[in-house]
């Protein structure tokens, strides 16, 4: 079987889209119960953090402010020219355009996964993991 390596808009199998397919690599895929799995403790807690941000009063206030600012009398803003290809739209940066209330939290996760090059700032990652896991919930050491 030959797969035509159609590049995904944000850069195919490279590091560019690691965050976007992270859940697939971590949560999907074949599982063999007889074997152990490495600890995912840092990742689990970062995911919880996002959900907490969503349901916070700060988020509600921000939504309220955005709603209050709406000019309901005028129509929708004039549509700008449609993009022809998916690639063009995405290369301009989904993170930029779609960054909403959660932008900060999501970016924090990207960072902790090592937004930069692969020198991988292990020490910082260790600290962050340690700090988070000492906090609000018991660490889950092993995922089966």
């Amino acid at each position: 079987m030959t797969v035509a390596q159609q590049q995904s808009p944000t850069g195919g199998g490279g590091s560019g889209n690691l965050y976007d397919v992270l859940e697939l690599i971590l949560d999907r895929g074949l599982v063999i119960d007889a074997f152990v799995r490495v600890s995912l403790v840092g990742i689990e807690i970062l995911k919880v953090d996002v959900r907490i941000v969503v349901a916070s009063v700060d988020t509600y206030l921000r939504f309220a402010e955005a709603c209050n600012r709406l000019d309901l009398e005028s129509g929708r803003k004039a549509p700008s020219q449609l993009t022809d290809i998916v690639g063009e739209a995405t290369e301009s940066g989904a993170r930029g355009k779609s960054k909403g209330v959660l932008g900060g939290a999501v970016e924090a996760i990207s960072e902790s996964l090592g937004g930069g090059d692969d020198s991988d700032d292990d020490q910082q990652e260790e600290k962050r993991t340690a700090r988070k896991s000492s906090g609000r919930r018991p660490a889950r050491q092993k995922e089966q």
Binding site: M1, V21, S39, Y60, N68, S98, G103
Partner: protein
Amino acid sequence: MNTVPCYLYAITAADHPAQTDSLVGVGDPPAELRVVQAGEVKAYISDVPEDLKARRRHLLAHQEVLNALLGEGPVLPMQFGHIAPDEAQIREVLGERSADFLEQLQRVGDCVEFHVKATRAEADVIREVTQGSDEIQQLRQRAQRPGASHEDQVALGEAVSRAIASQRASDGADLHERLAPAAGDSRAADPAPEESLAASYLVPVSGAEEFGRLVTTEQNRLGDGWEVRLFGPLPPYSFV
């Protein structure tokens, strides 16, 4: 007999042509890959690096090994981070479950996974849910009158937040219904809070280009304010 723990990447048919010397495993320096075979199936494995955790470089290595294997033939991708006690136990599992693995390889063999994420500009969603809801408009009036309280703002924000979630779910379901017929199988995930859709599609290799075009068509139909992003072809993580 090798009795050290082994990291697992994928299970394939015994005749999968990928050579291990062209693959770069997890760890630093990267572990060398090898193969354990039992009957008609085999597993691509390596030694386990000491510091193995869900880190960027390990995740990338896992993903790149799987992409390389996928490029040469059907794979059953392992979830990241599986470690077997030794090669003997892998051989045992391969033997016991070979019928199951072969059946799965048969099912996903000629297919790849595409992952689609769709996000709509928040301002557009807020406008639409506000225009479409008397409740939100009333709460908005309360929040805008002189002397409106903090609680009035929170009540408005909470109602908007609920409506946004519901609007996104329904937008996502619509898009999913348009994409799913082009795939042999599909699996929706929990989208991130700012997303309308995060779903995986199992697409025959022969239909991969057409699926890409369909996603582009949908992006154009939805138009300004939407981002529809396509990732793939990927190993069929979501369908094994």
